[in-house]
Assembly symmetry: C2
Homo-oligomer: 71 residues x 2
């Protein structure tokens, strides 16, 4: 799942990913995720925002370095 | 950390919480979290949105029942 999500988004923490994605790519990601999820127990929660400025991000503690995204 | 965050927000998945919180309560939560976090390695990421309608939520797979929030 981690591997799959990282193909579409940036991994920010544990099971949390963030990024800009097109409707088509999101549909593809959901389709591929459903394939590897146990639908009765697992869940994938998607928060959409249409404009980046509507969402403010604040980090307390260690900020993930860009290096982490490459590893 | 889970216990602390659940005093302020609803637990939605793994290390993800959601909810409405006042500025004062958020400050308190950040303060209390810093106290138990290893600041060099751990991170707490906060996504703010001023209006709920700016954020759309979509769940694929199992939707956490309200019961889970009580357990």
């Amino acid at each position: 799942m981690l591997k799959l999500c990282r193909q579409y988004l940036n991994w920010i923490q544990n099971s949390v990913f963030e990024g800009e994605i097109t409707e088509v790519k999101l549909k593809e990601l959901k389709f591929r995720a459903s394939d590897i999820m146990k639908m009765e127990t697992d869940s994938l929660i998607i928060f959409h925002t249409r404009q980046e400025k509507w969402l403010e991000k604040e980090v307390v503690g260690r900020e993930k370095s860009t290096l982490d995204n490459i590893l």
